[in-house]
Symmetry: C2
Subunit: 335 residues, 2 copies
């Protein structure tokens, strides 16, 4: 991404200046991850407005000039002085912030950065690969004993010791009957099988996201094999030009064919980068076409309420076909 | 809070039905903390719409009826069938979600729940006190050795072992010259003095938030004494009817008098509950009046760039005067 590409798109959308408030967008443009309220005023001369509290760090790290954020009143005066009439604002921004500007400017609410952020540069790909490497190294010494939360704490500790800034998201360790809850909070139950572990590291802001499930009984293994087959079919379906929904459809069909369609209660995957969940998602309704250098997860699961669940998740880079970035075997069992 | 109080306020604001998307608002109304997209349609017959993924847990926990969220299209049909013309929507909600409704309904964007959530019930106060108790027990066995992040991991582990669901926010351990960064990420530096530790536990969704700073040199102790004096003055200024800004002013004046006004680079505090940062904040610009059963933090700090920083933070319940909820002495030194 070059700033020129963004300003060109802004011109096409009749946006004179864009305001960015979302932390990941600010990080994408400036390299600085704010810890408190910040914004970027973006045009040919972008500027990051950071809170007094972040100022020292922001000035060290930001690739664009940094000034102190004082008040919306000051921001409005700057915009008026520059003769700006049309403001681009993120679709993700709150109504409360929008209210600050909507009376004095024509607002164009858009996902201006999404088309840029969804295509990863070689530098971004390297950062994501590094996050994956850390996360995989960190499970190899993981021991599945103690309580679910202790296993999660151990894994988080390993990731940090291996260089992760922090977890990419709250590590999921859901075992026994709790494995049927795709987003279970880790409990104080002693870990048992099957155990679904869904974890990710973060390197220079970029996330990894992977899931493996330990199985024990034949029935559990049978379900895991279905999941592995569905994942394989999904990954095989990935190529530039393919719709996101088609990947979901391919994966879902395998699970339906085995009679578990009603037990596949979430989408097949999501893009990933500075955020764990980015656009496009691989869901039944998403008609976006995959493009080269997108990075997506493929994560089929079967959840049998009251019994157990299995999910396996890999990360995939879209090239002429899918390149799997994760390296752990799908039937990896934790020790 | 009784649901009647909310519907009465809605009637006064000419809101027929309110939509809530923010997780903490959903938790406040239903008792269920969603792990993925959810919403509450609120009127005399409120309903929680949860994603398929959350459905099993939501049905177990929610105090209001639960149905599956399918699509915005379905939600719109329900609203139309009920003859709703005016919709209340949270100020915190994104433009993207608002767009779904703004063409077919009159939208009233408001902070409808804020006045209710800012006054804590006795049940909420108990939950917050339990979170405080966990967080304080957890530092008593904390040893300040190793790297900053290891100290943070140790503290997080202790909190979880003592019953916290998870940290209320990313634990801050900022030591040596890094203590001058109020929101420093924990680094891989070996811990040194002064060390600012800012941590909180979470009990049934409710947060605690406390900061203590270990000091070593006379200069550091001198600064900490100024902070302790400022904090004392701030807490003494708290009473129902006092403006939030007046507490900030009282605290700031002490620091200014000692010549460190430019080194106090953040607000004096914030309300706390289901979220770590709630309304009203104790900032120079906040003219809200304190009321009985608000819970706020008082957290003065002095940050000398390139040298060091000191911050001390207590939690306070507003009664006829301030009741300090935290129990650790202000000059508590970690071992």
């Amino acid at each position: 991404m070059e700033f020129n590409d963004i300003t060109t798109k802004m011109a096409a959308d009749h946006i004179q200046t864009a305001l960015f408030f979302k932390n990941e967008n600010i990080a994408y443009l400036s390299g600085f991850h704010p810890s408190s309220f910040s914004m970027v005023i973006f045009n040919e001369d972008p500027v990051l407005l950071a809170s007094k509290m972040d100022l020292e760090e922001a000035k060290k790290i930001s690739k664009i000039p940094v000034e102190e954020f004082n008040s919306f009143k000051d921001v409005k005066e700057i915009l008026k002085k520059e003769g700006i009439k049309t403001l681009g604002i993120e679709n993700t921004i709150s109504l409360g912030i929008c209210k600050q500007f909507k009376d004095d400017w024509k607002i164009v609410a858009s996902d201006l950065l999404v088309p840029f952020r969804m295509i990863k540069s070689s530098e971004e790909i390297k950062k994501i690969q590094k996050a994956i490497k850390i996360s995989e190294k960190s499970v190899k010494s993981l021991r599945l004993h103690g309580k679910e939360w202790e296993v999660a704490a151990q894994l988080n500790y390993n990731m940090r010791a291996n260089g992760s800034q922090k977890e990419a998201f709250d590590t999921i360790v859901a075992s026994g009957t709790r494995s049927s809850l795709p987003h279970a909070e880790t409990s104080s139950n002693y870990i048992s099988n099957p155990s679904v572990i869904d974890w990710g590291a973060r390197w220079e802001g970029y996330c990894s996201d992977c899931t493996r499930t330990n199985v024990e009984t034949e029935k559990q293994e049978e379900i895991r094999n279905i999941i592995l087959e569905a994942k394989k079919v999904g990954i095989k379906s990935i190529a530039p030009g393919v719709k996101a929904s088609e990947v979901d459809k391919a994966v879902r069909q395998v699970i339906v064919d085995y009679g578990y369609g009603d037990n596949y209660i979430h989408s097949t995957g999501h893009s990933i980068g500075l955020e764990v969940h980015e656009e496009p998602s691989l869901s039944a309704k998403n008609e976006s076409k995959l493009e080269k250098n997108m990075i997506v997860t493929v994560e089929p699961g079967i959840y049998i309420e009251g019994h157990f669940g299995v999910r396996i998740e890999d990360m995939v880079l879209v090239k002429n076909k899918a390149k799997i970035l994760t390296n752990l075997p799908g039937d990896f069992n934790f020790e």
